[in-house]
Amino acid sequence: MNVMYFAWVRERIGVPSEEVTTGAVTVADLVAELSAREERYASAFADVTALRVAVDQELTTFDAPLAGVHEVAFFPPMTGG
C-alpha cells in the first residue's frame, strides 16, 4: 500500500510517500511496525495523539482496519483556512 506523510511527519521520516508491504491489520499495527523499523519512524510516531490519519483519503482513527486499503496518510492536525 502507499503510505504518505505530510508536514513535520514528512520531514522527520524524510520522504513524502513510500510503498509499504505489510501484514498489519490496523493502522496502529502499521505504526508499530514502522516505528520498530527505524528511528526516524519512531520519532515521527512517538506521540500518536499529536497525529491524524487518513485511510483512502478519509479521516479515520488508529484502530481502522487496513484490509483492501490502497493509501494511508499520516499528518499533524490540519491548519487550513
Partner: protein, 145 residues
C-alpha cells in the same frame, strides 16, 4: 458548488462579483483569509496540502453546509504553495435568500476548513521556520455545529 485548490493567487472582489448573481438571492456572505504578519517578521508562508484528499474533503464539507442551510450556492477557493504577507490564502462565499443562512453556512465552512481540510501552514521568519500549531480553540469551534 465550486471548489478550487490552486497555487495561483485570486482576486477576491472579482470572485465575489462573479458569485453573487442569481434569481432569488438576497444575501451573499464572503470570508477572505489573508497571510497575517503579526509582528512584521514573516518572510514567507508555505502551505502544504494532500492533493486528491483536499478537494474531496472540501467538497464533503460544502455538501454538509448545503444540506444544513438553504443555500443557493457555495464557493471555496484555497491556495497552496509559497505565499507572502498580505496575500489572500483562501476564500469562502455563500448565497441564500436570507442572511441567517448565508452567515451561518460561511461560519460553519470556515470552522471545518480550518480543522478538517488537509492543509498545513509553515511560517518562515528571520528566526527560522516552524509549522503552525493547530489551536485547541479551532477544534473546540466545531462543537458549535
Amino acid at each position: 458548488m465550486a471548489v478550487v485548490v490552486q497555487a495561483e493567487s485570486f482576486d477576491a472582489g472579482a470572485e465575489l462579483n462573479a458569485f453573487s448573481d442569481g434569481a432569488g438571492v438576497g444575501a451573499v456572505v464572503s470570508f477572505t483569509g489573508v497571510v497575517r504578519d503579526t509582528d512584521g517578521t514573516l518572510a514567507v508562508m508555505e502551505i502544504e496540502h494532500y492533493p486528491g484528499m483536499t478537494e474531496r474533503a472540501i467538497a464533503g464539507i460544502v455538501d454538509d453546509a448545503m444540506a444544513r442551510w438553504a443555500l443557493m450556492d457555495a464557493l471555496v477557493i484555497h491556495r497552496h504553495g509559497t505565499l507572502l504577507a498580505g496575500d489572500p490564502i483562501m476564500m469562502v462565499a455563500t448565497k441564500s435568500a436570507h442572511r441567517a443562512d448565508a452567515f451561518a453556512a460561511a461560519d460553519f465552512l470556515m470552522d471545518y476548513l480550518k480543522s478538517r481540510a488537509p492543509f498545513w501552514k509553515k511560517e518562515t521568519t528571520a528566526d527560522g521556520s516552524a509549522w503552525v500549531d493547530a489551536k485547541e480553540a479551532d477544534e473546540d469551534a466545531l462543537a458549535r455545529w
